[in-house]
């Protein structure tokens, strides 16, 4: 559990406590005149579930985008097991970080099974020539991928929808399918962006159990969520992000009792801040 990453040059607001697996140091993201993230540091250790909460427009998704290589941070760095991550989402996924999206981004005209199979892309040993000729190597890798896919679909409880188009799945099941697709890349870190948005209480509870299950399989999880009750009962540690700054970090109990968090939520900035961020994010 030692902090392996280099300490940021500037005096950090607080030392990331649980460093080890995934570390972010002093991540700052500037969109034109808007600073969406300001000097955010955190660390994630093996087998941990971290919650990321904050009002709309606090920069949570922006932070995910920085972690996954979609955005190049203006300054600061992100490292997995001490090695800096490349600025390319595909390579980051290859290295072992997978994510879901806030607005579900499945491949709508592919079946559930095919969606998960796409997730196997980086783990499949099947070159273009093998794809073309369908030799014995191909058959082996396809069989392996399909059996792994079937396991994952069963794990998230979607076996019966295996041959269904992603776009025809119920909303909650689409979120689960997205998780299965991300798990197919065999990540050591899974980033979930609002996994229970739009779910009813029952589905939310199922998702909570699912995330515990993922953790038990040895994958660390970072969750963005608005539902604080969900977060406080799920996570080992909670980070509160407000206007791009890391406001509070601690155990669910510590965070829940912190007056700054209450204030930040009640005095949440007007929606226009969110608008600005979205506008800026569309044209980085």
């Amino acid at each position: 559990m030692s902090a392996k990453h280099a300490m940021p040059e500037a005096p950090a607001p607080r030392t990331p406590s649980g460093a080890g697996l995934l570390t972010a140091s002093g991540v700052t993201m500037q969109f034109g005149g808007l600073r969406a993230l300001n000097d955010v540091s955190f660390g994630l250790s093996e087998g941990e579930i971290i919650g990321l909460i904050g009002p709309n427009g606090a920069g949570k998704t922006t932070f995910f985008n920085c972690l996954t290589g979609l955005y190049a941070p203006t300054s600061g760095s992100v490292a997995l097991r001490g090695t800096p991550l490349p600025q390319d989402p595909a390579k980051v996924t290859d290295r072992g970080i997978a994510r879901t999206f806030q607005n579900i981004r499945l491949f709508p005209s592919m079946t559930a099974e095919e969606n998960v199979l796409v997730g196997r892309h980086v783990r499949m040993k099947q070159g273009p020539l093998s794809s073309l000729l369908h030799g014995p190597g191909f058959k082996r890798s396809e069989a392996e991928a399909r059996s792994r896919t079937a396991e994952l679909l069963e794990f998230v409880g979607l076996t019966r929808f295996s041959g269904e188009l992603a776009r025809n799945l119920p909303y909650g099941d689409q979120r689960r399918l997205e998780i299965a697709r991300a798990l197919a890349t065999e990540p050591s870190v899974l980033l979930l962006d609002e996994p229970t948005a739009g779910m009813n209480a029952q589905e939310t509870e199922a998702t909570r159990q699912l995330i515990f299950g993922i953790r038990d399989l040895g994958t660390s999880v970072v969750v963005i969520e608005h539902d604080t009750k969900f977060i406080f009962t799920l996570c080992d540690r909670v980070l509160v992000l407000v206007q791009g700054e890391l406001l509070v970090e601690g155990s669910p109990d510590e965070v829940r009792g912190d007056p700054r968090v209450v204030e930040a939520y009640l005095g949440a900035p007007p929606d226009e801040v969110e608008h600005q961020i979205h506008a800026a994010e569309e044209n980085p």
Binding site: K91, R105, T111, L117, H121, Q126, S131, N168
Partner: protein
């Protein structure tokens, strides 16, 4: 073509709305259907023209002289008679749940046949009088049959379409093999009949278009009715279960075309031309249909393949004095085209969407301009490269007759065999790739490029690979094209050809093999048949493109994925969709 559009997929989409409007007519549905069927039968027996056309009676004697053989109807009148009787019978069969759908198919078929013939008579007979009344003679056949078809349609919608029939139970393996064998043989005969119907369009044969279109309408109606009755789905499922067997039988069946009525030099040439464009269209389908990258300069790769082949052919205008064997030339053409494909595809690293389409268009135009100017002495410029010798093997030139035992194959049959093999190979490439890691990566990029990257797909190389493989296939077809036509000119590779290929892919259905083949077939057979309308060919083509995008953007044979979406009540698609859809209808050329 309306009827044909309905032949393969019956979706509830357009049916739902009129049903609401026609709901008030529901109590009269049976009466409407029966009346429609009856009127169609009557229409088949009425005279269709008020005059005897100068080439003798209008095809199938549908003129006032029909009484010479009152009950011996043939041709389109026979089709109408059969459709009418079936509609009449179905009107009273209450046990069939899908009869609404079948009747709709028949209704469209009747309308298509009637409109095709009625329009021809009107145009050739100098006006509306030709199919109504003139000089005291009346000929209401077209009108009556049209009303009949319309009534059948209205009745079908008013009474509810019902579900498509499903025939579940798999039979034993040998029984299914036997059925498939029969079905594919029938398919061969049907293809041969469609191809030759109406004969070769020319000044001497002014009715080829009418006969062909009418026959196409009848076949479309028939196929749609069979689909509504669940037969096509049943056969498709069967061929999915025996994929290897189906593929072999289809290949054999395709090779047997010269033995049918289409076994003449002319039809062999037409079929080989279709093959060239079908192979090219399948290659384009990888780029557009699978990877979702719009390529507006694709025909340039066909051109590059052809130019390379021409230069190694020993033609007088060839740049090189080397004559290479044809198989080697094909490989070189494919490789060179593939390299250019990678070059043209490289901007995909930075450019997306319709800007990419413009980049490909620009590359295509650069190719046309450069070859027009005989760049590097390679393309012959405006003189083209003429005199490319035919392919020959074992002393047998491919453009000549061949006698094997007692069977005499027409000239051009060898080229036809060759292109069938090429098309089969291209199909195999497409099918294999589609159901592989690479193919799934392409489709993922088409669906959502950012999400694909988040799944670890290196989108840049994968997209360039799509361009490269597509171009390689076109280059292969280009080498064949050069030898078969004997002349390579930049004129054959202009922008309009790219648009036509794209239209073939879209008309057939993006992302599917039968779609590309069907689209290429329609777009390259129609002009042959409709010679007398050649002046309007491109006008109709342009308008058709607009109408397709408006009313049936998914094409005639949609991807099984999209098909499932269109008919949500259908069973989930089989775990391994894709090439399977090819088997059932591949030969519907």
């Amino acid at each position: 073509m309306t009827a044909l559009e309905k032949d393969v997929v019956t979706e509830p989409g357009p049916a739902v709305e009129p049903r609401g409007r026609l709901a008030a007519l529901a109590p009269y549905a049976t009466a409407l259907r029966a009346a429609g069927g009856l009127l169609t039968v009557i229409g088949a027996y009425l005279p269709w023209a008020t005059f005897v056309l100068n080439e003798g009676p209008y095809p199938e004697k549908a003129t006032l002289e029909f009484f010479t053989a009152p009950f011996g109807v043939s041709g389109f009148r026979l089709h109408l008679l059969v459709f009418g009787i079936v509609a009449l019978v179905l009107a009273f069969v209450r046990t069939l749940p899908s009869r609404g759908r079948i009747l709709r198919a028949l209704g469209w078929g009747i309308v298509a046949v009637t409109v095709a013939n009625g329009l021809y008579l009107t145009v050739l007979g100098g006006g509306f009088g030709a199919i109504t009344a003139a000089d005291g003679a009346v000929a209401f056949g077209a009108i009556v049959a049209l009303i009949g078809g319309a009534l059948v349609l209205v009745g079908a919608f008013a009474g509810g379409l019902g579900e498509q029939l499903r025939w579940g139970r798999p039979l034993g393996r040998y029984a299914e093999w036997a059925i498939l064998l029969v079905v594919f043989t029938l398919l061969l005969l049907l293809v041969a009949a469609v191809l030759t119907s109406g004969g070769q369009g020319s000044v001497a044969n002014p009715y080829s278009g009418a006969v062909f279109l009418s026959f196409l309408g009848a076949v479309g109606g028939l196929l749609a009715a069979l689909h509504a009755a669940g037969v096509l789905t049943w056969v498709t499922a069967m061929s999915e279960r025996h994929r290897a067997f189906s593929a072999i039988v289809l290949l054999v069946v395709a090779l047997a075309l010269p033995l049918t009525g289409a076994g003449t030099q002319y039809w062999m040439t037409v079929a080989a031309n279709i093959g060239v464009y079908a192979a090219t269209a399948i290659g384009l389908n990888i780029v557009v249909g699978l990877a979702g990258l719009l390529d507006l300069g694709y025909v340039a790769f066909l051109g590059i393949g052809a130019v390379v082949a021409a230069n190694f052919s020993g033609a007088t205008a060839a740049r090189f004095d080397i004559v290479l064997p044809f198989p080697l030339v094909m490989v070189i053409s494919a490789v060179v085209a593939g390299i250019f494909g990678a070059i043209v595809g490289s901007p995909t690293l930075r450019v997306r969407g319709d800007y990419l389409a413009i980049v490909t268009l620009a590359f295509g135009e650069i190719f046309v301009r450069s070859s027009q100017n005989n760049i590097g002495g390679l393309t012959g410029g405006s003189n083209a490269i003429p005199g490319i010798p035919p392919v020959s093997a074992f002393g047998q030139a491919f453009n000549e007759k061949l006698t094997v035992g007692s069977v005499e194959l027409p000239a051009g049959a060898l080229y036809y065999f060759l292109i069938v093999v090429i098309v089969a190979a291209v199909m195999a490439v497409f099918g294999n790739l589609k159901n592989s890691r690479l193919g799934r990566a392409w489709i993922a990029i088409r669906e959502d490029e950012d999400a694909a990257r988040a799944m670890g797909i290196r989108t840049g190389p994968v997209k360039i690979l799509a361009f490269m493989i597509g171009a390689t296939l076109a280059g292969l077809a280009g080498a064949f094209f050069a030898h078969k036509t004997g002349t390579v000119s930049y004129e054959s590779f202009r922008f309009l050809e790219s648009v036509t290929l794209l239209a073939a892919v879209i008309l057939g259905g993006m992302g599917t093999i039968p779609g590309a083949v069907l689209g290429a077939s329609i777009l390259f057979v129609l002009p042959e048949k409709l010679r007398e309308f050649s002046d309007y060919r491109l006008l109709i083509f342009g308008i058709a493109l607009v109408l397709i995008m408006r009313f049936r953007p998914q094409g005639l044979v949609p991807d099984s994925h999209r098909r499932a979406e269109l008919a949500p009540e259908a069973e989930p698609p089989p775990p391994d969709p894709g090439t399977g859809t090819a088997t059932g209808k591949v030969a519907v050329q």
